[in-house]
């Protein structure tokens, strides 16, 4: 059974302080900390490409688990900020890591729901093709597309990358997925040279759609709140995570929050947290991503027996 074996992470060391921008945007530190949930943003070097972030996440994965590159049969990159329009970034990552020529590579164009979509895609693809080891990367460096005069987005996003090792030697395996799209509202979060976000529309979407979607997925799988050890929600902002938590009527302790020092890292936010939970003993964890599209996706992970 294919599932998640380990997760590597890369968060650039360079931090830009939001506290220094408070006067410019007429905000206070309490708002930064308790509403946005971002005191500083992780920012990549200007000459660092998305593929470079992926490669650094892979180096972290190598530190955590023994991995033979010749065993990797599949390499997928989730990004909407590729190195180039052509070719796909996964091919560049493949080259930089010197993976085998027999390794399949493709990209997935999704934002904050991308990790969950990516998990479903890579596992299905590997199962269909009899593969045993694959890599799912996430890297979406928004620092390249931020309008620094836009209060709605300038304080929110950070750069990061992750890589998830999918293998038959898994610690957690997905038991079910659920997806959704509101394509008529695509313009609420889009990039035409610079990022634009209608904060109210995105908030209304997440607050009204995501809690019901999560509850439906749990009901479908006959799972109650006391069986779910962690709800790993996309770290859109502190306000959004808190709102979903309240609407689900679940304990805050079950909902990790970790974006304070580096910001909203788009498709990387869920695996950044999941990496810390891989050795945990939760029977079930629920992952939920939502944003650009407008798109949402959730999955339930189950601990593999004996792991």
């Amino acid at each position: 059974m294919l599932g998640i074996a380990e997760i590597g992470r890369y968060i650039p060391n360079v931090r830009v302080s939001n506290v220094e921008k408070l006067a410019k945007f007429e905000l206070d530190e309490d708002f930064l900390k308790n509403k946005l949930g971002v005191l500083s943003q992780s920012i990549k070097d200007e000459d660092e490409k998305t593929s470079d972030l992926c490669v650094k996440a892979f180096y972290d994965l190598e530190q955590k688990t023994e991995i033979n590159k010749e065993d990797i049969e599949c390499c997928i990159v989730v990004t909407q900020n590729p190195d180039y329009n052509i070719p796909h970034t996964s091919a560049i990552v493949h080259g930089k890591l010197a993976l085998e020529e027999s390794c399949a590579c493709f990209d997935i164009s999704l934002g904050c729901s991308g990790y969950v979509y990516g998990l479903s895609t890579i596992i299905a693809f590997m199962q269909n093709n009899g593969m045993k080891k694959g890599l799912l990367f996430t890297a979406d460096p928004y620092s390249e597309i931020i309008d620094h005069d836009d209060k709605n987005t300038d304080l929110l996003f950070g750069d990061a990358a992750t890589v998830t090792l999918i293998s038959t030697e898994a610690l957690y395996k997905p038991v079910d997925f659920s997806f959704g799209t509101k394509g008529k509202e695509y313009q609420q979060l889009l990039c035409d040279k610079k990022l634009y976000m209608n904060g109210r529309a995105v908030f209304n979407f997440t607050a009204t759609v995501v809690p019901k979607h999560i509850q439906n997925l749990m009901q479908k799988n006959n799972l109650s709140d006391d069986q779910i050890g962690r709800y790993i929600l996309h770290q859109g902002s502190r306000f959004i995570v808190d709102t979903i938590t309240k609407r689900l009527k679940i304990a805050q302790e079950k909902v990790p929050f970790n974006m304070l020092e580096y910001g909203n890292t788009v498709s990387s936010s869920i695996p950044l947290i999941l990496a810390e939970e891989m050795k945990s003993e939760h029977s079930y964890m629920l992952l939920s991503g939502y944003g650009v599209g407008l798109s949402w996706a959730s999955t339930i992970l189950q601990k593999v027996e004996g792991k």
């Binding site: 708002f31 509403k35 209608n198 904060g199 109210r200 908030f203 209304n204 607050a207 009204t208 306000f239 709102t243």
Partner: protein, 77 residues
């Protein structure tokens, strides 16, 4: 049935954005009484859900005080 000031204060209370809604002044902008830009968005959503109405972005200037909101919601029902 007409929506009252108390009905609106009840919605604001459910948003948990001010310590005591009784201390709010009904003719002063909520954003000038400790309600920040995210809290107000949450209040608008709760109003939409409670009264089954839509408050489009272009109407937001009409719903800045408690009195405004009472009048606006009644005009939509």
């Amino acid at each position: 049935m007409k929506v009252t000031t108390d009905d609106i204060l009840e919605v604001i209370e459910s948003a948990e954005v001010v310590a005591d809604t009784k201390s709010l002044q009904n003719d002063i902008k909520l954003t000038d009484q400790g309600v920040d830009s995210l809290d107000i968005v949450n209040i608008y959503l709760l109003l939409e859900e409670k009264f089954d109405i839509k408050i489009p972005d272009e109407d937001l200037s009409q719903v800045t005080t408690v009195n405004d909101i009472v009048e606006y919601v009644n005009s939509k029902l």
